[in-house]
Symmetry: C2
Subunit: 204 residues, 2 copies
């Protein structure tokens, strides 16, 4: 039983109490992931998810028009939220945190539940947009923010926050995944930060 | 009639003269590309290529064991050869030439003849290796050579030829293709050189 299943069971095991808002929403999303893993996208139903979450279909339809939206939201919820990263004004540490967040996203996107849903009609491009909105674009904006603050403190060269500098980390992770395989070792992340990004942005 | 077809016809139109070595080989490879474009991979035959090249099947079988090897060689021959690039010891110009060679390779690989052959059994990974051997690895080695010579002249920082620096240009082209589409404008290449690679390698 994995963490999602445990969470779904725990949240579902309170039928006497009326759960509202965030608590119920989290129970439904956890149950959706559990159903996706146990029966697959095609056999997943709104009824099945409602039953697994210990609630009624109406509670689902109040929040989601149907299965594709529900599954999308459940997968989105399984991704890391870059806006929760603790950024420190230590440029090297912050860039490394942002790269780790991208790596975690790649790992999750290649995982079983994403693969189970991805092959369905229209879902692949939908997931690509979701990953973009949830992780890639926020990471890009946070990277720019880290660089801008480094420039303002005089630690980074003027221009370090411009052009395509903020895409280099993501590009290097993508390059590793495409040429060397999907598992990206920590030493690779550190080498990208120390041999590529820091020399590119540091004022000397 | 495109350039390959014209070349194949011209070379084939000399039945009286016995063509040998390189000339015959080029005629056969040009005829292979022409056949690939006109009938597709599946219907392409050694006989058909021999007829289009104005030679006999034996001339083909002396050089290639069968269709997959012949088609691979024809596609390989259609790619640019990075070792023919004129390198100048002007780091910016040389890096830009190498990136243009990668872009041309991406354009050709996405073109009709590659697509026609790619979907056949086992051909996709074979083509990926071919593009790697013919273009990507030589570009990587030449990039390292350009960087090493720049370091030796004192124009580039020590370490500029190490780590993953030589992969950054290719990674940025790949990133553009995956996130913004396959047509890579000249301004993007120049921005990668001026905003990313040169600041990363230049001694300041």
């Amino acid at each position: 039983m994995d963490a999602n299943t445990a969470q779904a069971r725990e949240l579902a095991a309170q039928p006497g109490r009326r759960r509202r808002g965030d608590v119920l929403q989290r129970a439904i999303l956890a149950a959706t992931l559990e159903q996706l893993q146990s029966v697959g996208y095609q056999k997943l139903t709104m009824e099945g998810v409602a039953a697994a979450a210990g609630t009624g279909k109406a509670a689902l339809y109040r929040r989601w028009p149907g299965k594709p939206d529900l599954v999308s939201d459940a997968l989105r919820d399984a991704l890391p939220d870059p806006r929760e990263l603790p950024l420190t004004d230590d440029v090297r540490a912050d860039i490394l945190s942002l790269l780790r967040c991208l790596r975690a996203t790649a790992d999750i996107s290649q995982g079983a539940v994403f693969q189970l849903a991805k092959n369905e009609e229209g879902m692949e491009s939908r997931f690509a947009s979701m990953v973009d909105d949830r992780v890639l674009e926020p990471v890009r904006q946070l990277t720019l923010e880290v660089l801008r603050r480094g420039v303002a403190r005089g630690e980074l060269r003027p221009g370090a926050a411009g052009g395509h500098v903020a895409d280099v980390g993501q590009a290097m992770l993508m390059h590793h995944a495409m040429t060397k395989g999907p598992d990206i070792p920590e030493e690779y992340l550190e080498s990208v930060v120390d041999d590529v990004i820091m020399p590119m942005v540091t004022a000397r």
